[in-house]
């Protein structure tokens, strides 16, 4: 504890900066919260002058608190990315689009060519040549409804 006592309150700031640096160097995104908490603990210690046990507890609690606060803030931001909202969710991108049936939907199952691949359809029985709109995507299955015209 000699080094610890010698550095005094600065140990928290040093630890915080080291942790933030480590976060950049190493993947994982959990040292970020520790680093933030360490910096905050340093500030509180400067202000109040706590015993080290208390500082440790404050540090632990603040670590979890930092994460919780971040999650609250992130909730308000939109879930899907603004650019490329259908990344890795190709089927979802077809919702709302209209297609022309090449073969009839028989007993609720059919197929349609989209972007040089074949997708399976589920929907009402329709003859070939009718227009359909995708209402929702269920994995690799597209649910369709007939459109007028």
């Amino acid at each position: 504890m000699s080094a610890f006592s010698a550095l005094g309150v600065w140990i928290w700031f040093i630890l915080g900066l080291v942790l933030l640096g480590a976060e950049v160097a190493l993947p994982g995104f959990f040292m970020l919260w520790l680093g933030v908490a360490a910096l905050a603990t340093g500030l509180i210690t400067l202000a109040l002058g706590l015993p080290w046990q208390a500082e440790f507890i404050v540090f632990g609690v603040l670590s979890v608190a930092a994460l919780v606060v971040w999650l609250r803030l992130a909730k308000q931001a939109s879930e899907a990315p603004a650019d490329n909202p259908f990344l890795n969710r190709r089927a979802a991108g077809y919702v709302g689009r209209e297609f022309l049936l090449e073969e009839a939907i028989v007993r609720g199952a059919g197929r349609v060519r989209i972007d040089d691949s074949v997708w399976r359809l589920a929907g009402p029985d329709l003859p070939a040549g009718s227009r359909v709109r995708v209402t929702r995507a269920d994995g690799g299955l597209l649910h369709v409804e007939a459109t007028g015209g």
Binding site: F30, W33, L34, V64, L67, V118
Partner: protein, 333 residues
């Protein structure tokens, strides 16, 4: 270093545990992946890309599923076609997982399952076609494969986007035979074309000959017609001339005609006599008649005969040229 009290130790361990808890609870999923979460080893939910928190101690990450489209090589295999040709086929499949949970827990070994499904279906589809069909209908093969495999793989939470047959290799002797067949086809086409050309040219030549002959015949026909016409015209002219002469004779004196004829004969004799090559005179019988027709000459003859008759003795009668008869050409009335 002073002895740590129980509380001090607790604090230290508490901080360590907080760190461990954060480490266990904070999960950041990279884009292109989805992680399944299991609670006491039972699947509960799937984590999307980005930052998410799971309950530490009871939740774990089950499997990390790649949600990107993936390429899978279908290794080459031997397939027997409908017409019993053994060919070597390899292909490639593109698939994308759309349901991380199903792809993790519905099927034990996803890649091996897709691979086996694809290979068996390649056999099925190709076994139902002839070699020629296979080589020329790859699109159709791909389409049929895709339909079957995609429908089957849907239960495993993945979408097969395309299956392509890369290479169809018939056995070497078959390839050689195909090459020969192609060559023969080309040769046949060349020969046919040549024959066609010859036929055409011969037809054209014959056509030309026919045309020329027709034209020639037409020319001859035309000429014959003209000739006949000319002859007709000539005959007509002669007839007219004769008629005119006969009319003249009928109207005029017969002696005038005699004179003309005699004159012509004499002229003819003259020209015969003055011919440079021969001095032989062939006189037609009428020539004597001509001579006879001249009255003066006739009288001379008669007087000469009379003198000879009186001079000659009865036994001796020399033969001399006799100029017979004092007949005129045209009997005088």
């Amino acid at each position: 270093m002073p002895m740590l009290s129980g509380f001090d130790l607790f604090v230290l361990i508490f901080v360590v545990l907080i760190v461990l808890t954060l480490f266990a609870g904070v999960k950041t999923v990279p884009q292109g992946y989805e992680w399944t979460v299991v609670r006491f080893n039972k699947y509960t939910r799937t984590l999307s890309p980005g930052l998410s928190v799971i309950v530490p101690f009871i939740d774990r990450i089950g499997s990390k599923v790649n949600m990107m489209e993936q390429v899978m090589d279908v290794p080459s295999q031997e397939v027997i076609t409908k017409d019993n040709a053994t060919i070597t086929v390899d292909g490639v499949a593109f698939y994308q997982v759309f349901d991380a949970a199903r792809s993790s827990y519905e099927v034990a070994n996803l890649t091996s399952a897709i691979l086996n499904l694809t290979t068996t279906n390649i056999r099925t589809v190709m076994g139902s076609m002839d070699l020629d069909q296979l080589l020329s209908h790859r699109d159709e093969i791909n389409e049929r494969l895709l339909h079957v495999v995609d429908a089957a793989a849907a239960n495993w939470g993945l979408k097969v986007n395309r299956i392509e047959i890369k290479d169809i290799v018939p056995p070497a002797d078959l390839v050689e035979a195909m090459g020969r067949q192609m060559k023969a086809e080309r040769v046949k086409r060349a020969l046919v074309l040549e024959a066609e050309g010859q036929r055409q040219s011969e037809i054209l030549r014959a056509e030309g000959a026919k045309q020329s002959q027709i034209l020639e015949a037409e020319g001859r026909r035309e000429a014959a017609f003209r000739d006949a016409e000319a002859r007709e015209r000539l005959a007509e002219a002669e007839a007219v001339a004769t008629r005119m002469v006969s009319e003249a004779v009928a109207q005029g004196d017969l002696n005038a005609l005699n004179y003309f004829i005699a004159d012509k004969y004499v002229k003819a004799l003259e020209s015969l006599a003055s011919a440079p090559n021969q001095r032989v005179l062939v006189l037609p019988v009428e020539a004597t008649a001509i001579l006879g027709s001249l009255a003066g000459v006739s009288e001379l003859f008669t007087s000469a005969q009379a003198a000879r008759d009186s001079r000659a003795a009865a036994p001796a009668r020399s033969t001399g040229p006799t100029v017979g008869g004092g007949g005129s050409l045209v009997p005088s009335s």
